[in-house]
Symmetry: D2
Subunit: 405 residues, 4 copies
């Protein structure tokens, strides 16, 4: 902390909400720092202009408000989906993947504005502090980082509210007490954690869900969609070429309307404890299924199996906050190379929570009647070859069995 | 083939169907071999007594008909599910896991009956020949293996039918022509492949499905079940302790009735080509979700992540036929050790194809309010620790960034 | 620190040297704690009785002095060598593997003596603090751990010396200033680090080497030895069955006398920086070569390659201090299973730093003329099989090449 | 074989020796094929002009004789050494890495000359047939491949000699009987296998060594060399910038003269059996040590550890013949990315078989006094941080220990 005492100017990741408004004021009053705010539209669904007004009200002169949705989807989400990344078998990394982008802009803005520090609103028990800070340090080794939730002396929600009142920060009625659960959201997902969700034996109450209807509420007839891929990324939906964020937003709509992408899990945090969360990833859930389907006909077995073996490590790196690390870049280079011919169309049926592949085709298919026919004719597949194939694969096992008899 | 000319007595994996009846007769007439039949009840859903009668009619004196369902589930299926094994992201290995058990019994029966060979009805283009034969060689390095589909001189279905007629093998009407698709089934799953399924762009016709109703046909209200685990295996369902096969059969019923476990995929065969299949794994799909859920609260992160990294390799070994290999045994030893405290209950909601976790609890939970409270009180989690944790994790990235500036 | 203020009784890993004597006194005077000393003979080559006298002089009533060499070699070193564990391609983990044993005894002694804390003399920049503490916490989650080098207020060597003088702790002449390098030693290795070794472009001065002569000084004629293994561990040397520590001591002698096992490296510490060290592992270097040689004839390829793929992770776990972790135990279970038939003899030539395998034989060999002959006769290896083997392995590559033309 | 009957024109990998001369004649007489010869200088140490004369004598009109040493070192050997590739802990893949280059040229020449087939002289029990053929198929899926050792009807050496005499192929005296061992050589290594080396308990006779003197014969004083790297590859030796093959040839000279690079091993072949070989890799052994040393100061830990984990798979791919596979390319992409800043100098001492690193330095070093000092000053390393780092790393282990008490 002591090094932080000398901070002069700090770029704050500012949502406009109560908590980051308190942080803003605390940075001004307790740290005597000039504050620059950065508010990003990551597709979380909030209006951004109120954040500008609040910042102005608190005397901020340098206010950055940016729509980074296209960058988020094309430079972070899509590369991650090329890897079919899933953490602990189920989690699509919706929160994890947004943090490096925010840190990248915080660092860039710090350089533009001559700030010597950045600040974020993540708590000291979670993963997000790690993700923000590792990303920031990897991009600027000399940056100072303020994490008020770890650094300030408030002991309770009451202390915070008193501080807010003292500085006339507006307090929405429902924010006076502790929230029944906390939410993080961006275009890829929303997560809900805490309080009413703390007992993993209790089913989450319906009101925690933010952006999907339940499978039960979804229509009784299936919706069919068609996604087209190029180099491993979706480029068109139902025949219409779309920008990454536009396409992803439509996938979200399809998912939401069909009850797709709800997940209730207990996960292992990088900081060492288990936590329970409820996640909604409507578009991502569709995309993962579609991507695996287009890979299934265009990706060679060797490449596919190597990808599957590398994936858990890759997902763990993103979860733990190592997006800007040499090892993530190395894995990305391998993954991206594999995607060169991952192109074509996937047809899907969405029905009450299900994402069902009903067809896939590609000019680059490795599965093809024509090829099969060609191979038979040319002797590419002689069933007699299988005997030799098996014999040599068995040789070491037979040697072993002979010894062990 | 020449070595096979001298075969005297052969144990045939005999289903009682037309194809293996032709093989039986071919072994008798063309190979001049005495035949022992082995017919296993793996839960495929066929009557076994007809197989006995047909074998007797063809003059077989040593007829083995066995119900191996409990062994199948407890010694093959459950160990595999401890690993959360999934091949290429989606396939639950339903066919693959049954083959080693059949080979094991074929080899044991060969030893009991003094047979010098075994025979199976798998074709020369598929994976099953590999799985049967690698397993057999690993258990008896000197066994001779006859794979008639690779070895005989029949060129077409017509040739086969003529041979059957010549030897008065009864031919069901619907077997005269080629089947519109071929089926393999056991308690874990059924698979459908070939012909009408060959174009991966075409949705599978409804009639290929064998053991599940569609999500659309499933009830409009969810069914709730509760599975109890001990040492990584399910031991009770809705509070009732059940034998492995009995429990699994009930899971299959629940899955079937709720449209759970259908899968349409293109996979990479070990013999080198891609194939398209439609699989139904109702109980297995439920079990996989439940097992991951109970692991989520009872398995340490280090163990869980190691398991996730080892899984693709483990699944590939089973898919490729290496169940009886040192490397599968090594991985199993690691996996089994991890399961010692994987116990407790999972509550699930089954609804029109969805398997939704709604609760998990365990006496061995690593997630617990009490623990959390203990840690706070005892200083087990000091938010200040996070700062040091991040700093040291960031150190190498900062050093790198300093260099690369 | 504050939680540590209440420590009542602490078990200190005590070498008897100046630094841990200062720590002992600091614990008594500044922490007001009763101190229990634990001094282990790990084969580091120091007399232990002086440690007892010093402890007695400082008023210690509970003094544990133990020869743990057999336990160290049989329960820590040998299991690790079964894995052929090497960190970053070169380091045999000599320091890393001793720490968990020390922590285990510290925790056991704490329980025997009713101590609520343990203390160690590792600094705050190194790996050993992590290894000591992770091991201790894994064995007793409630233990308090005092790491004086991190916790006290001394700023310099001068401060330490003053404190020692104040409490009449004897100060060897050569310990008044900072040492030209620091040493850690146990039966497996000695390491030298710091000061004169800090520039990685400078060759280490000859005087840093503790327990080997240089290759140049070694005899001009080779020494031949023969090591016998059982279940992956060495059990006899030159025909003489020996206890683990006795055998290992002899290997150390052979290595030392032949200039074997010196290593000058730059390694990556778990705490995030690179450090340069000079290590000497005479017996371990011989053992690693011999173990790989006996495995080369007794271990199946599948097991051997799986071991090679798991090894870097296994070595990293030990290096980072996770000996007592579920994932290390899982890997150990896999590795140990592979060693069941790793038995037989290896003949080696030691010559001026070289360890040269000149022969290996085993009753469990998988390489054998007899087997080869058997296989030829029985048609186990038909060269024609190779054609089929290659054809099917090539199939996917040909399909890919056809597509990409 | 039957498909091969129609071969019209075949490119033969032709050494000019007796065996490939017999193959050449056999292709002409028994296969009625026009033959194109390809003789490559891979640094094996043979004169190539005699091969031209023999080919001309046998009526060959299209004779390709090429010096491919630079391509071999820069496009195959160096990329492989970037990975620190070692097969089964010891083998530097000297034979394996040469095969894909030969196949590549065979395929290119086939396309240039309108040949429909290629032929090689590898036997049916070895790995090289696999490597040649997988590479060829990956580059031209329609190529026909003739492997005379698998395909012809000769039963014994006598048959071959008779055939040679019938067609007046000159037979060197020492080639009438079977050789006491067989040799493969290229610039990276020479290998010796078979006959006198078949018993792995017997030390190899001195006369099998081709290109190194023994450590005993090497000079009594050490030789010091300095290798400079750029992007992971050596570019200069003792201050002199050299082409890849020239530099490598000098490393070979240094290795040979100092008894460096001998290896006697038992390895696992891809075709299923164990074999014993004696390999000499003088320059490669030096290069591996030097490359690891320059990486030790320039490669980040995350990148280094990922490389170590991927290496066994990468080495296995090359050993098994999958150089031209998507998965090898993916791994190469990851590895190459890691090498961008692997530059600087390594100083080595060569002494009687030892390769001893005595210094490493780099403008891109991640180890540096200056950095260390900078970090201390800026608070980059606060020893207090270590406490938090350990606490959070320990948290899951403590939770586990609490549960398991």
């Amino acid at each position: 902390m002591s090094a932080l005492k000398n901070v002069k100017k700090v770029v704050l990741a500012y949502s406009g909400g109560l908590d980051t408004s308190i942080i803003l004021k605390w940075l001004q009053t307790e740290m005597n720092a000039e504050v620059v705010t950065f508010t990003a539209d990551l597709g979380q669904g909030d209006e951004l202009e109120p954040a500008r007004k609040k910042a102005e009200m608190m005397g901020i002169r340098e206010i950055y408000i940016e729509d980074v949705r296209e960058e988020f989807i094309s430079d972070f989400v899509f590369p991650m989906f090329r890897a079919n990344a899933v953490y602990e078998g189920v989690y699509l990394l919706g929160t994890s993947i947004a943090r490096p982008l925010i840190s990248k802009r915080l660092i860039e803005i710090a350089e533009e504005t001559g700030a010597d520090a950045i600040a974020h609103g993540a708590t000291g028990k979670g993963n997000d502090q790690v993700r923000f800070e590792l990303s920031a340090y990897a991009l600027n080794p000399d940056i100072k980082i303020i994490a008020p939730w770890r650094d300030w002396s408030f002991k309770s929600r009451t202390d915070l509210i008193e501080f807010a009142e003292k500085y006339q920060i507006p307090i929405p009625k429902d924010k006076r007490g502790e929230a029944p659960f906390s939410v993080d959201a961006n275009m890829l997902h929303s997560s809900s954690e805490g309080k009413v969700l703390e007992d993993p034996w209790d089913e989450p109450p319906a009101y925690v869900y933010q952006r999907t209807i339940s499978p039960e509420e979804a229509p009784d007839t299936a919706t069919e969609i068609e996604i087209e891929f190029s180099r491993g990324d979706p480029i068109a939906l139902n025949g219409e070429t779309l920008s990454p964020a536009t396409l992803f937003a439509r996938l979200n709509d399809y998912g939401r309307d069909n009850g797709v992408g709800r997940l209730d899990l207990v996960e292992n945090r990088f900081v060492g404890m288990k936590s329970r969360g409820v996640y909604e990833t409507p578009g991502g859930t569709i995309l993962l299924t579609a991507h695996r389907a287009i890979e299934s006909i265009t990706l060679d077995r060797g490449a596919a199996h190597l990808k599957d073996e590398l994936m858990p490590r890759y997902a763990e790196l993103i979860y733990n906050g190592f997006w800007f690390s040499p090892e993530r870049s190395m894995l990305q280079a391998a993954i991206d190379l594999s995607q060169e011919s991952v192109e074509g169309k996937v047809r899907l049926k969405l029905y009450k929570g299900n994402v069902i592949v009903t067809g896939r085709e590609s000019a680059k298919t490795l599965y093809s009647d024509q090829l099969v026919t060609f191979e038979d004719d040319q002797g590419a597949y002689d069933q007699k070859d299988a005997a030799g194939f098996i014999k040599l694969n068995a040789l070491r096992l037979r040697t072993l069995a002979s010894r062990d008899r």
